[in-house]
Symmetry: D2
Subunit: 342 residues, 4 copies
């Protein structure tokens, strides 16, 4: 039996731990051969491959990144991309392909299986945690740790200088990192894409925080936007607020808060820091168990399937179902957390 | 409405975060008054109390330990203990008591409610993660992080000196910390109380590891014991193995491995380090959500109830059920992890 | 004896540890009374003061920020500012004033002593490490730790995506954080204000790194500037390079590298993260020893003096001398480190 | 030119960073060839060698341990050991040997140079910081960070349970780790080998701490001993104190404190945790600069020399002088720190 492995999409902690678990179990217990495809779907299309054996995965458990490289290439956007993947895998006599990726990468896997019969098994990773069908995605816990450590660090500056500190975290479509790190870091305002925010309300929280204690920390997901549609859509908006730029909501928010409250405000954009570093023990555990179960899916011939976390169990779900829609923050959860605002 | 809060049992990260969440929501949303009982059930029996208000919980979210103090006092082992608690709470006009503790502390809460009608709500905490009815107990994630960081650190010494390094972690009755930190830390042998171990097998793994790569890390829960009953029970055991002491299994194991394999072995006992420090972001999140839901139980008059994690939801379960039995490591999970041994 | 204490300038880890050491020794060994002046020179001018006793400094050793608040107010830029400070201190019968600050804050102390006879003792703090007369300033070690941890974290993303990662660290006038964190983090290019850089050389290093191994990390101090004066000074510069903005050199550099090498580049700006957090053990040690020696200066009537680190000793130097010029990175040190570029 | 490199003695963070700097500069700037001798002096005696090139040192900067392995073998205790080393090096045409080690390993280097003309250059490493002639030894900063983090962690348990917590750190002959981590961690008692302690005084500090605040943290170097010689030397000591065991002073101290003060006491032995892990940014900086200067010593033919830190400069000193005596904690420094006891 010959098994292919690839990692696709943006960087995320824990990818190497998945690869290691797949290879360790596949070689030791089932005697499989492994081939790594380089740089995600790009390597699958261009037949850029490396052998993967026990030796190649030694010592990679705690290392961030991916020894296989990654890309955001979509074979369905390239003429004959899917066909070339199918042919390349056939030429290498690969019986199963384990795809470690986010919604985009796994969406390709779902189509390759459904439309071309490429035997894929999926492992869900994204620091954004916005994939349906799994309680947690791989990489989320580490990203929350990084963001929370940054917020912890900023409290002392807020306190010493009586400044508003805005922290922009990742979350284009879902506010999971914002809400988890904001809650854990004791933020005074948390803004997420699911709930367009009211600038006046934000400023009221900021002002009330200054009265009650010291300077506020505002955590904002990079996909959060104000309620007022004019601010977002029109670049010639009248009044004293600027339109919200497509990127840089944190910087924009700090300027608006300054204008409206008269308090100094500063922004910190965490950016790529959230994608790197050694995976947290939770993510190493999750990655390892995902890997162990993914190779069992291959052994069972259970393709078109993604491994997922439910409670403390690893289960199997159809990839197509898991990638069909986003998992967003429930309004009730956001309301629950709102007790700490202001 | 007047609400009491106490923390009982051994130290555990996240207790303060629970207290803060309870008080923030109880005061801000429901207008309740709070009383902290000092040092667990001891303060409840001896009416040692402090007022708890918003000011008292400011800044405690990231702090380990408990501002209320703790003890392992069992009122049912003291003449009239339960009655005195009931009287003290009545004298203070306390309408609900939130009890943050492990199986022992919550076992008392279950009996006080069942036998004396003391209106208790439970919050499950223990770094050991061995409480039934909740996917995770509070404090476990932080303890696993501490243990994993220690194992990461010991790898380099094992590698540089070709020595066996035995790491003794907590886990008297259940091997959760051992199995999670051992897996995340890339340990080569993991020994847990649920699965009495075979010394010859342990030595075989140690020897095989030396052949394949470098020196092995052996993670052992402090409640793990060898299969051979003679070693455990009889202090006059014949043969060349010493009986296992009630404490110090790590040290014992290192000596036995040295004797049998001829390799140098060293032990590190993590001990109290696993109980302290700032709670991890996960534990701060869990603590906060447990606290928010516990105060809602009080508001609903839902006593005899414990909050618990199921998947990503906080649910309510009878305290009596949650404390009736231990949650131990499933043999299938231990087997799954066994692929990394040796 | 009555002693005043103030903290001025930007936030910096270890300020609280200095305050604690001063008060612990001053009260316990010398029986002095202490007064904290709030928000740096602002509180001294406006007589905004708080009592400081053993109780007030309990538990603050590991906390970042400053319990006294800070500001960048310069009394010499305010009509009668210096005179008001002198009068306020006299009215409070303060016999000595310990000033914890950077070059600006201590420059004021030097003038107040020289021109007005205000009995000042200085403690040098700044994460930038650019103060003359001391081997290290307080806060530098912690800032280097924060920056290095960030660089460590970005390596995996650089590796997985074959992207140039530019990290902008603090250092308006001196490249100490850049050179220390860049060296410790294994950066492939380090750019500092003391050495205007050649964009073509930077691009050559970037390109050579891609050939030799994986994607490069470029660490740039926020005060670093290119050699080509046109780029810096003229906003209507011809050619294909943009002028360098006064802030945002990291972002500018990433864009220029992309244009010239054809490789993707991303920027991370560490910003305030470098100022916050718990002080490192080294900074706690330095802060404590600085505080213990500063109070001895007061006891000895040794005013106009700053405590400083020389090797492993704490010595006394004239504040005026210490603030007269910047400590910058020696060209020989930069050259020494250059072996790792490319 | 052919250069040998070996690492000897106990494990210590930063060894790999030294090796990398030596090889990078030696190959890139001077075009030298490198040979690594395995397991310290053992490999030199037995001619166990590996080639060292740029590729071999890639990625090792942040890794603890040593890629060359280590041992505590002393060639002068083996018949013909020194002669064999000389012959092996000659056979390999090695023109200079860089020896990275502590007092024992470098003591051998000093003799090999003085008595046999083996061209050695030394780099001082030991977490204990007890080598004369250098302000800091490599590894010390990391060990202090580890010990301080452990003490930080134990505070919350001390506070929650009103227990004495004894932390045993390394320091057989000198109390550097104890005094630095104890000061940085806010310990209430610090005991070091240089200053035999008075058990009654220790108990008085413990008792006074309980009165003033909460439970005390006692940091004890593993080489610290009580003043009372009887306790140390005689195993049949009369009275109510047990003799001090050669190892385990922390455990012994906890029992004595319990007996004398009636307070519960617990011990944590940090042990090997202090030797492992990624080197701190300071140690990576020091290691790198030591390595860069060591290869320059070889280039200059400056043998019998050790690189050392003086202030912020790297200087050269005779190895023989550096290893002739221990650097211990100055009684005045211990007294300075004593203000925080109790």
């Amino acid at each position: 039996m010959r098994v292919g492995v690839l990692t696709g999409g943006r960087d995320c902690p824990g990818l190497n731990a998945v690869i290691r678990a797949i290879v360790r179990k596949g070689v030791q217990e089932y005697g499989y051969d492994f081939t790594g495809l380089r740089d995600g779907w790009l390597g699958a299309m261009e037949d850029d491959a490396v052998p993967l054996d026990i030796r190649a995965v030694r010592g990679i458990l705690p290392r961030g990144g991916t020894v296989l490289g990654s890309s955001r290439t979509d074979p369905f956007k390239q003429e004959g991309g899917a066909r070339r993947i199918k042919e390349n895998l056939a030429a290498r006599e690969i019986d199963g392909l384990i795809v470690i990726g986010g919604a985009d990468t796994l969406g390709v896997a779902a189509r390759l299986w459904a439309e071309h019969g490429v035997p894929c098994v999926g492992v869900p990773k994204t620091i954004d945690n916005d994939m349906f069908a799994t309680d947690r995605t791989l990489g989320f816990d580490t990203a929350v740790n990084t963001a929370t450590a940054a917020i912890d660090r900023l409290h002392t500056t807020a306190e010493s200088h009586m400044r508003v500190l805005v922290v922009e975290v990742m979350g284009r479509n879902a506010g999971w990192i914002a809400i988890h790190s904001g809650l854990a870091g004791g933020a005074n305002v948390i803004l997420i894409p699911e709930q367009p925010f009211d600038l006046d309300q934000v400023c009221a929280w900021v002002t009330s925080r200054f009265r009650a204690s010291y300077a506020p920390i505002v955590v904002v997901a990079d996909g959060a936007r104000p309620k007022d549609a004019d601010l977002v859509l029109r670049h010639d908006a009248p009044g004293n607020a600027e339109p919200v730029p497509l990127s840089g909501v944190g910087e924009w928010l700090a300027r608006e808060i300054e204008k409206r409250t008269g308090k100094e405000a500063r922004t910190t954009v965490l950016g790529h820091l959230q994608r790197g570093g050694t995976p947290s023990p939770f993510d190493r555990w999750l990655a390892t168990r995902f890997g162990l179960h993914a190779i069992d899916c291959v052994r069972d011939g259970d393709f078109g399937t993604m491994v997922a976390l439910r409670g403390t169990d690893i289960v199997r779900v159809p990839i197509a179902e898991a990638t069909a829609r986003l998992k967003t923050v429930d309004p009730k959860l956001y309301e629950e957390v709102g007790v700490f605002f202001g």
